[in-house]
Symmetry: C2
Amino acid sequence: MTKVFPEDSVGLVTPQTFHFDEPLTLASGRELKAYDLVVETYGELNASKSNAVLICHALSGHHHAAGFHSEDDRKPGWWDKYIGPGKPIDTNRFFVVSLNNLGGCHGSTGPRSINPDTGKVWGKDFPNLRARDWVNSQARLADKLGIQQWAAVVGGSLGGMQAMRWALEYPERLRHCVVIASAMKLTAQNIAFNETARQAITSDPNFCGGDYEAEGTYPKDGLSVARMIGHITYLSGDGMGQKFGRELRSGSFALGSDEPVEFQVESYLRYQGDAFSDSFDANTYILMTKALDYFDLAREYDNDPVKAFSHAQCKFLVVSFTTDWRFAPERSREIANALIAANKSVSYAEVESEFGHDAFLIPIEDYQNIFTSYMKGIEIDD
Amino acid sequence: MTKVFPEDSVGLVTPQTFHFDEPLTLASGRELKAYDLVVETYGELNASKSNAVLICHALSGHHHAAGFHSEDDRKPGWWDKYIGPGKPIDTNRFFVVSLNNLGGCHGSTGPRSINPDTGKVWGKDFPNLRARDWVNSQARLADKLGIQQWAAVVGGSLGGMQAMRWALEYPERLRHCVVIASAMKLTAQNIAFNETARQAITSDPNFCGGDYEAEGTYPKDGLSVARMIGHITYLSGDGMGQKFGRELRSGSFALGSDEPVEFQVESYLRYQGDAFSDSFDANTYILMTKALDYFDLAREYDNDPVKAFSHAQCKFLVVSFTTDWRFAPERSREIANALIAANKSVSYAEVESEFGHDAFLIPIEDYQNIFTSYMKGIEIDD
């Protein structure tokens, strides 16, 4: 019996690997001689090639944004609530391209790949990357797909940073830029959380200075703590309170017991850290958090966001969530205000939500409506 | 040449150790057969013994709250800005008692002490403690000092929890209760941060399941990450932004450099983690964070704070700080509102500050004035 996927699902999807032979010069000055990008696409590219939407992923994301890899797949892609027939990014209209970024650990060239110069795994020697490197590699992917101009480049969090960078680096190659729960640069507190996460990884003796693959070890414990730190900051305090309260998973608060009690929130977090560290690569985690820390949209524009955005030619949708304290609404308002001051077309929505930063991944009616309405307004040549 | 200490300093102080032979039954049902408490006192106990103030310390605190241990001491005690001649807790009027709590690592009986039953270091086998255990041990210390009733019991954060517990457990033994930057119970987010910190410690291979002393190792890296996590949460996001911004300590953001940049906030945090892990005990850190998590003022009063506080007989000062997100002003307002509903006398102040939770340790004019004024109003028999 063939499994029937939901009607609004893109159904079974298969990743493809694109190989790039032309060397890519990175922002750091180093060069990748050749690289692979793993890509999924949903929907059909129209004849005029005007309906393509690029999805840029966040810290722990990858190419599998929608649909299922097999009939047994228990969970769909990470943004399945937002990509599919009739969903905000409607695959009946749009041809959606989702990739695993360079430096990732889901098939694209990254720290787990072989360094052609040494014949060994890159590991810690994989080059530092900045958002612009991803954007450049994505532009080459667009070339290969025959897409001269994206209908929209869309991303949440670190993905939103890439979308904004697209608007500045390739202004003529996108008509719309959708920036969700993002920021023009991280705050000191954000950097501090990232650094603490990195410290948890690098101080794990199994990290071996980043050479764990060569040593046959893996810094699972450090990566697990890193993910726990991240996870707390992606949720809101109120949201955690509503979800877990002070409920016990085991043990008893009764006086007269020396059994340590365990709160549900503790076992939940440990589970999250454990599951993540089974599937993610520690060097990629360090690389991605560094790219977040480095990102500073307006640095090369005299630190003037208005000057930066004056280069953009596309229209913008900017979305934030009320309880997101990692990428607070204030950060999104800064983006919207700079766009207005630069005389750009921008829609800004601050969505009520209890889900903190994670809200951008979660179905929330207001958010779905705003997103759907904006995407419907994107014109496509038939 | 003798060093001259500032006029408003208590000057040179010497800790004393008090030994207790009578077994102490703990909330867990276990028993400490005997124990030591390390204590400092500042000022003079008056003839009527009515001017004694007890200082309860927070997570990483200890007995050395004010003054200097030697003429070479570079830094005074942790609350020196608030204890001394003419300071809010005025040692010209008050006899101040400050101790290292049971379970601590600064001389009082704790995980680093010898378990008399085994002749070996307690380590991870030291009993779980709850705030009431500290209060009971402090009551015995009061007995030993001949103090029947404290003029005030004072504490910030976890110290405030002890002060509140005093008001419920020994209502006739204190006239005033000063609760600063505290809460009646932790939120799920707070517990989550504590659990992540503990996970950083226990997953350090040098933790050895808590038996690191016996193994001759020490989980310095894990404790350092734990402290970094804590430290971020004690500061406000805005405060960190103002203090560090995105300033670089080294490296350059210039494109064309593969050198990793280092933000000032990163090196600051690593320094904090490193320094703390040199001086603190990992098992104590676990024990203290667990005591924080367990604390739930009203649990045994049908989860009704009003019912809980109805047992109190003292007057209260409750203070919170606007940017404290670990023990938010809302938590203090809950305390104040429950006290009002229980017909108790309470003064509540929400102090403007950019310093987050750490504000309770920092000189802030409004806070100093409020604190001074309240303490001046405390009557003492001469």
